[in-house]
Symmetry: D2
């Protein structure tokens, strides 16, 4: 395993405003995630909503291999320009891990192309059981069949995502619902993992198995090869033929300008 | 087969500005497509860029089961607000067929979540051979193994789309390139089909096999069940449990407002 | 909707040997399914294990568009030769619907390529809730979000299937498990649907929503185009080039016989 | 990168019988592949058709992480019992790389569940261009957009495989055909990669880019976690409930024996 440069982004509102949440995450959800990823040997920085550009400057993004995203109450406050730049870097190869209520974030909607905010939900502290559907998937390594989460907010189907490229976990909720809780997507050169657990009023990110999954996901979403802004396919100039063409006397319509 | 309400949208610039293109499509590409779909028994209207709201008013969209999209030189001229409303209707169940250079349109980028404008291209009038990869797919019915297109603009891989949910056609080009030329995607309740053939300087939409594929695609993308704006999952109110929950004395954090 | 020629295959052991099962299905599970499919306008025949060739003669298979399969206690008794012929017809385009404990049948293992018999199970009469994951899928039409099955045998993940091409239903079980309960696969020209509900000691196939799903599945798995034994790709003779080849003076190795 | 235990299986008929093929591969195709994999640091053994059990004894399989398969003229000579044991190990987690004419082998048909022998073919020494469809896939690392193979047997669509879980390469042939030349499948805990290049009369496995792809594929198909015969899901005994069940007074039918 090689060290990955991770940036943990957190909206960081609930922990500031609600004392009982601050007790669970005294340094914010991002602080908790930063700590266990650092312990695993990764290089971790954090960024939050209130910082200029939400802490996601060019400098920060350019030194990020994997971005972790937690948001909930203020998705609309995230600037479109920042979302655009994050998306540009994802399709160029940066990994993206979207956690829990980040399902309704602008960046997740952007990579999915669907209204991902739609799902059933209920905040009743009920038990969740997270089942491994693909035991050989890298993100499931070290997890023995299932993870029991004593208290969690319920998220239930239908979850309005495109069918994931790989489905790793399914969630069971005490009240009768199921959820596609661990979903992999590929977008451009980047890998995206959505992981449902993590309601702010429960100490879910302190649970070792949940940390294990996130650590696995960091390795899985880390870029394959270099992060590449993607102009290598040469989009503004035509590509010469590799094989000889028969001469058909064809003239491209010079009148047709501003190609693609 | 039942009649489908189709709207054919065309940028309609090349046919107006370039005489030799006007000769091929005197009533525009949209006019040609309208004609063969009407002949097939469908109810067809057209819309173009220059109309107010690009012809895609609420009234028009509300009476559209399948929207066909051809654009090339003016993708940036399409208003974001119109794109947003088209997207809303696609995820609610309207079918979307994106043709040829529509690969770089805002609506296709939106449903794909990737920079779909990236690909190799060359305008040399070379021959394309379109191979059927899935002969039992509804969109391939009536096509015997392959379609030969005598002259076509080359589009080559890598095409920066998410892996399609179903890959129906692969294109071969004389100069040495290949392309995923017929791709199905599911987004929300809607079906999306991308079909590569159709450069404006060649009479490709007059070719019977190409018309056959588009007619098949209209049937395949037509809504399954009613078009539903999608709030049925009740996103702003919690869902009551279906099964009894154990009482854990949990109180939701009332302080956490503005849920999802 | 056009009538489909359906053959319902049932092992037909439990209903003969166990009185309380016979009470639920006096004419066998196949009789129950036959009845509601006939009522829906289809042409239905049945076949069972004890018949010569298990009732699946060439004549029967040749007049079958969709085969429904229920088996449990005697998968090993099904002749390999019959399995081979069923498989040949599936890949040629016949639909296949595998029900409940048919998950461990030879034919399902054959089309999946995995040991599909592996899963968790428990026969405790607990409640199942079947959730629609893809509300716009043809097989989910007419189902409003979920189906509640008052008593069902539990089947739980990990279910050892290849990732389905389309996942339509997820099952929730009272005891804490989840299951991919409605799965679509494409094999050759044929469509395969696995549907988990239907333990023999409960009247599940009498439940209207379950019948609705099976009726939908008959329409979805029905052949697209003609059933074709599949030699059209000309496998024993080389294909002439479509485009002229450069002469390289190459001679195929005549010494290499018995091509493919 | 850690060393992988690879076994290269080769039918080893053409190299023995045809002098000009022996010149290209004096130690057999398996010898050539063994050499470049050893050089890459892997532990490599070989096995061939004529050995007892085709060289695939329990001892050999038990010490194999990734099995590479090349066969052509004698697929029928491979014992079903050996195929069964190879398949058992693949679904338990062993990687499988199937090369070129191995497309029609018993083991590939077994994991695919389709008549994979069907495709178009022609032995004319024409040029192939292999395009990278997914540049960020681990198997494509180090390959810059395309590989040109000066002379290759043509394999063309339709190739009768299930839609691959990941499509990495597409092949272009001079005579007008295209082919899904690099395909990933997941079966049980095992990963399978099919790679089309490698006709015996051309020195294709001596080409550095082709070796690069095979080296990448060894790493990608190597087991994730331990190879596990798969009984962990406890298939012959029922699973106790994780959550308490309501008592419904249900008695399982003791008369129904020999469960699953």
């Amino acid at each position: 395993m090689s060290a990955v440069r991770v940036t943990v982004w957190n909206e960081y509102i609930h922990e500031v405003e609600v004392p009982r949440i601050a007790e669970i995450y005294p340094e914010g959800i991002h602080g908790c995630i930063r700590d266990f990823l650092q312990e695993a040997g990764h290089t971790v920085q954090t960024a939050t909503l209130r910082q200029p550009l939400h802490g996601l400057t060019d400098e920060v993004l350019d030194s990020t291999d994997v971005l972790i995203w937690w948001g909930h109450a203020a998705h609309d406050k995230v600037e479109d320009e920042v979302v655009e730049r994050v998306w540009q870097r994802v399709v160029a190869g940066m990994g993206l891990i979207v956690l829990h209520s980040g399902h309704a974030s602008k960046i997740f909607r952007r990579v999915c192309g669907t209204p991902t905010g739609y799902l059933r939900w209920r905040e009743a502290g009920e038990q969740e059981i997270l089942w491994v559907v693909e035991p050989s998937h890298p993100i499931a390594q070290g997890i023995d069949q299932k993870i029991i989460i004593p208290n969690e907010e319920m998220y239930g189907e239908r979850f309005n995502i495109p069918a994931p490229d790989e489905l790793v976990f399914l969630g069971w909720f005490e009240g009768g619902e199921v959820f596609r809780s661990g979903c992999c997507f590929h977008r451009g050169r980047g890998r995206v993992f959505y992981f449902q657990p993590g309601h702010e009023t429960f100490p879910i990110y302190h649970q070792p198995e949940i940390q294990q999954v996130i650590k696995n996901a960091v390795l899985w979403t880390a870029p394959q090869g270099e992060i590449n802004p993607g102009t290598e396919e040469g989009n503004f100039t035509p590509s010469p033929p590799i094989m000889p063409l028969r001469d058909r006397g064809y003239q491209a319509a010079d009148e047709v300008h501003s190609k693609k």
